[in-house]
């Protein structure tokens, strides 16, 4: 009797799940309320647990090993990440300015403001290439903002956003892509994630273009998300392919398995890359 009623309960719960799934698959507008609420609440909770874990870890490290040095080191690392990203941005801006100087008589573009954020969690679904950062809509973060590290592009912010947390889709993810150019030839293509090893592919590059392993792949800025000039990765393999296009494998510049501090580029990409100073 009890077993039968338990099985009935299973059927009812399963039916409930199917109804929930059906409702979401049919509706195409907006996010489910339960999703944004759960994300918002849990991000707070996760920040707290991360804070406690970090507190214990840093307390231990400071007391028993390197009193005070850990804190300085963390600050310096954050600063170095900021400065390296800034330097990269400056270099990109400078390179752009050099070309524009000749054509448009010194048209400098303003660097976009950035916001440092800590990676506080990953996506609980196994195999999902997303991370959660401790900055959200209250800090000015919006969906589709680019996220970079000291070595290059990491990914972009995706919804739903909570006031103090946001989800970042990594560039190596299955559905991730970015407009790209080859550093030497300047030929443009699209870098997409989801490949096995290396996880990035550069597509739409004609067979006629000479692409050698070791060449850097940069953002083109034409996708409206990533500002131009940031390093996406390095060409690892380049072979002539079918349909007149090369098969190019790209190793990402950033090791996404060890993300600690990232930078969110707050300005609109088009503005940051090529706006005129007023």
């Amino acid at each position: 009797m009890l077993r039968r009623s338990t099985f009935s309960l299973l059927l009812i719960i399963s039916l409930g799940h199917v109804l929930v799934i059906s409702a979401q698959v049919q509706s195409k507008s907006g996010l489910p309320v339960i999703q944004s609420v759960a994300f918002g609440v849990f991000s707070r909770f996760q920040q707290m647990t991360t804070g406690v874990a970090d507190g214990v870890r840093s307390g231990w490290a400071k007391y028993f090993a390197l009193r005070g040095v850990e804190r300085d080191n963390e600050q310096l690392r954050k600063r170095v990440t900021e400065l390296e990203a800034q330097l990269q941005q400056e270099q990109a801006q400078a390179a752009k300015a050099r070309g524009l100087e000749e054509a448009l008589n010194l048209q400098r573009s303003l660097p976009a403001p950035t916001l440092a954020a800590r990676v506080i969690a990953g996506n609980p679904q196994p195999g999902s290439l997303e991370v959660m950062i401790d900055r959200g809509s209250a800090d000015g973060v919006k969906a589709d903002m680019a996220v970079v590290g000291s070595r290059g592009v990491i990914g972009r912010v995706i919804g739903p956003l909570s006031p103090h947390a946001a989800r970042v889709q990594l560039i190596v993810g299955l559905n991730a892509a970015a407009g790209a150019t080859l550093e030497k030839s300047g030929v443009g293509g699209v870098v997409s994630g989801g490949a096995k090893d290396p996880p990035l592919r550069l597509e739409y590059i004609p067979n006629l273009v000479d692409v050698q392993p070791g060449e850097r792949v940069l953002t083109s800025g034409q996708d409206g998300i990533y500002p131009s000039g940031f390093v996406i990765g390095i060409v690892e393999k380049s072979e002539k392919g079918r349909n007149g296009q090369r098969d190019i494998s790209v190793r990402p510049a950033v090791d996404v398995s060890h993300l600690e501090v990232v930078l969110v580029i707050l300005g609109a990409p088009a503005k940051a890359a090529g706006s005129r100073p007023s």
Partner: protein, 173 residues
């Protein structure tokens, strides 16, 4: 069955999964600690507990993952129920004996997830057997650690109480 204990196990599993998920990005193996928690609850407290743990854990995981809510919930509810049924049919008191149901549950859960996703997308997804077996192995190791810890915890607590009592009685003498 203790509802609070089931909820506590599930919340602990989800928290650990979210906290550790960032370290498995780019790694060769995946793991699903929420599933380990569900199987633990099912074997410890029976099919209703497994079902409850599966529903709560799966829905929470779905909501945090950003995908379609209910897919993981459905898979984990079914797995939790049947694992609980197996737990009541066989004597699975030793931690090592619980590894086999956990391994089977891992594979069934992944296949259920793929099936539901395939039905939604209207196309059968590619199954990566090495990845699935890798996940099963890591889940089994995590489960063994959790089962051993759960077995050792009551003994450790009672030993602590006993030592406190004996020290008190010595003081009286």
């Amino acid at each position: 069955m203790k509802i609070t204990a089931v909820i506590a196990v599930v919340l602990l599993a989800v928290t650990l999964q979210v906290a550790l998920a960032r370290y498995m990005i780019g790694g060769r193996f995946m793991f699903d600690l929420v599933l380990v928690g569900v199987v633990f609850a099912a074997l410890q407290w029976g099919p209703v507990a497994g079902m409850l743990a599966g529903t709560i854990g799966g829905l929470l995981q779905d909501a945090l993952a950003g995908g379609i809510i209910g897919v993981g919930g459905l898979a984990k509810t079914i797995v939790g129920y049947f694992t609980g049924q197996i737990g009541t049919q066989f004597v699975l008191t030793r931690p090592r004996a619980r590894i086999l149901p956990l391994a089977v549950a891992s594979i069934v859960h992944r296949l259920l997830m793929l099936s539901v996703t395939g039905l939604i997308d209207q196309r059968w997804p590619n199954i990566s057997w090495p990845a699935m077996l890798g996940e099963t192995g890591v889940n089994a190791v995590c489960g063994l650690i959790a089962f051993l810890a759960a077995e050792a915890l009551p003994d450790a607590i009672s030993r602590g109480r006993m030592s406190r009592r004996s020290s008190l009685s010595r003081r009286q003498w």
